[in-house]
Symmetry: C2
Subunit: 349 residues, 2 copies
């Protein structure tokens, strides 16, 4: 049973407010017939600002997939090294004490994976195992946590480092003009997180059970079209109705593994797929609005950080300092498939 220690979050250096983004999008598509609807939908995201890895003018110029892939690789290495050093410090561990490195990132592609670069760039042992996960999108952070917990179960005493790194702005496609493209352009942000799961002792979220659920035949709800210009994000509005389907699964999971109703849990770490996803979770799990405040805060301040979100929200939970040993919580993320990935556990100190 692994314990997630305090995640380290690294923000890229550039910042864009939602007002600035609306200006940029209007400049790119001045004659779009649906601007009033788009404007309303962008305001509805409840995203105030985001961090991006390159100046917005460079992002919208789209320097071709080849150059973006080089920027992706360079920034992935640079930002993740900073996050990893801080995460190791948070966990009071040295690099050589890490047994497995899991990396999640779906916003670019590199081979070798970042796992190999990290082992070379920092004093990790050559024997450190590598698990890069590129294709689980926004569910990947939760999935990495679940695989890490299973690794700690298989090897008691093991320590797992999870690095989630998403540079969503490098997937911005300036020529796309469906309404859902504008919403995506106003929703996703860039950040990198690193988080150590320890299996012996530590302060944090002890993961005790996990589950995954795929709604069959919903592959088109969240997907990439892979083109010469890179990954094009495709979002079907049907995704808004998925939580209604997975909430009973989440409820059953909590009741079976924590022996409580979701409404009686002490904390939640939810992926911020968007405002509507959080609204639906509150409604269908019957939980108090205040319980998702940190997820809403993360969404407003950084946008949807894809696989990084669960770590961003978990970091805010640590910062808030409101948890007590024995508190029970649920962590969940949602991504392509459509897949819900979840785990439950206890706050330990």
């Amino acid at each position: 049973m692994g314990i997630l220690t305090k995640p380290a979050i690294v923000r890229p250096q550039y910042r864009i407010t939602q007002d600035e983004m609306v200006d940029v999008l209007q400049r790119l598509h001045p004659n779009h017939p649906d601007w009033s609807k788009i404007n309303r939908m962008i305001r509805n995201t409840q995203v105030n600002e985001r961090y991006i890895v390159r100046p917005i003018e460079e992002i919208i110029a789209h320097s071709r997939f080849e150059e973006r892939s080089l920027i992706y690789k360079e920034e992935m290495r640079r930002l993740s090294v900073q996050a990893v050093e801080q995460a190791l410090e948070n966990a009071e561990l040295e690099a050589f004490q890490i047994d497995l490195i899991i990396v999640t990132s779906c916003t670019g592609f590199m081979m070798p994976s970042l796992t190999a670069y990290l082992i070379s760039d920092l004093p990790f042992r050559e024997q450190t195992k590598q698990l890069p996960i590129a294709q689980l999108g926004c569910a990947a952070g939760a999935s990495a946590i679940n695989r890490a917990a299973e690794y700690c179960e298989a090897f008691p005493g093991a320590n797992v480092l999870i690095v989630s790194a998403e540079l969503c702005s490098l997937c911005f496609q300036p020529a796309e003009s469906a309404i859902s493209d504008f919403v995506s352009a106003a929703l996703f942000g860039d950040s990198v997180s690193a988080c150590v799961m320890k299996s012996t002792s530590g302060t944090g979220f002890q993961v005790e059970s996990n589950a995954s659920y795929l709604i069959k035949h919903t592959e088109n709800y969240i997907a990439y079209d892979v083109k010469d210009t890179g990954f094009h994000f495709v979002l079907d509005k049907q995704v808004m109705y998925t939580i209604e389907t997975v909430a009973p699964v989440m409820r059953e999971f909590v009741e079976e593994t924590v022996q409580r109703a979701p409404s009686d849990l002490d904390f939640f770490v939810f992926h911020t797929g968007g405002r509507r996803i959080l609204d639906e979770l509150v409604k269908h799990l019957g939980i108090a609005e205040q319980r998702v405040a940190l997820s809403r805060e993360s969404l407003a301040e950084c946008g949807n950080l894809s696989s990084v979100v669960v770590f961003d929200v978990l970091a805010r939970l640590f910062e808030a300092g409101t948890r007590s040993p024995g508190d029970k919580g649920l962590l969940a993320a949602f991504g392509p498939g459509f897949t819900a990935e979840m785990c439950a556990g206890t706050w330990v100190e």
Copy 2:
């Protein structure tokens, strides 16, 4: 401790001999100054023929990354469903008895991952866990086996399905003309495998220990350049000297976990990176040439199948019918990083 049951291998319908491939390459680059050297190196691969997913004329025309990505997705689904049905039959299991699906593939990109499509396309449970691995290249098959074995350790009684699917021909870049590009064009083949790891009973290779080793600062030995035209495979000839470095690690791993010298093991399942890699393994591990006969046979008949190789060789081991319960063996694969991924265990019936 999971048991790898008999893998199912599915070959795409098109076939090309090495003579035909040399003709194609000469037609593409008639004035290349190094043809005599290239010709000699291609003969040295000891690949006789390969299976490819599309007719060679279509492959060399390179229909753009976008169209190749659509072919990749379509063929991945079509071929893997066939492989999975056969693998389940080999393992005497039904789809609903599978707890985790691991997919390895580095020769295209799709999101949702093939794991999601498989769960939708076949009668898997919605709760089946998904682990797609895209960035470990030729080492991914062995890596999947190791992660599957750890999963069986964490959840005794679990069954894991591993699907490895590589359509290397969809990464063929007709404009590339470095000598290493010609060697790659003559080396890699297409195939799909599916293999069930059972943790309770079964006939096959019981995985009892595993290890991974990365040679630091060798990221450039095996890599992709990600361009508008897709993934461009880059191979540094330094890779030929890596086995000399990792063989002592493999030796120590075998001695510690099996309490035998590598030369005293009963069987080997080696990745067929190329003729030279197999020569080096024989030399530096001090094993009998005959022990790698199945890897050489796989290389000659299908080329290097990337992450599929270890399953192709394992399937040949089952077909050969020469194993007895209690036999000890080593499985190893090598990929970008430079990473060696290995496991050791016992043949059980």
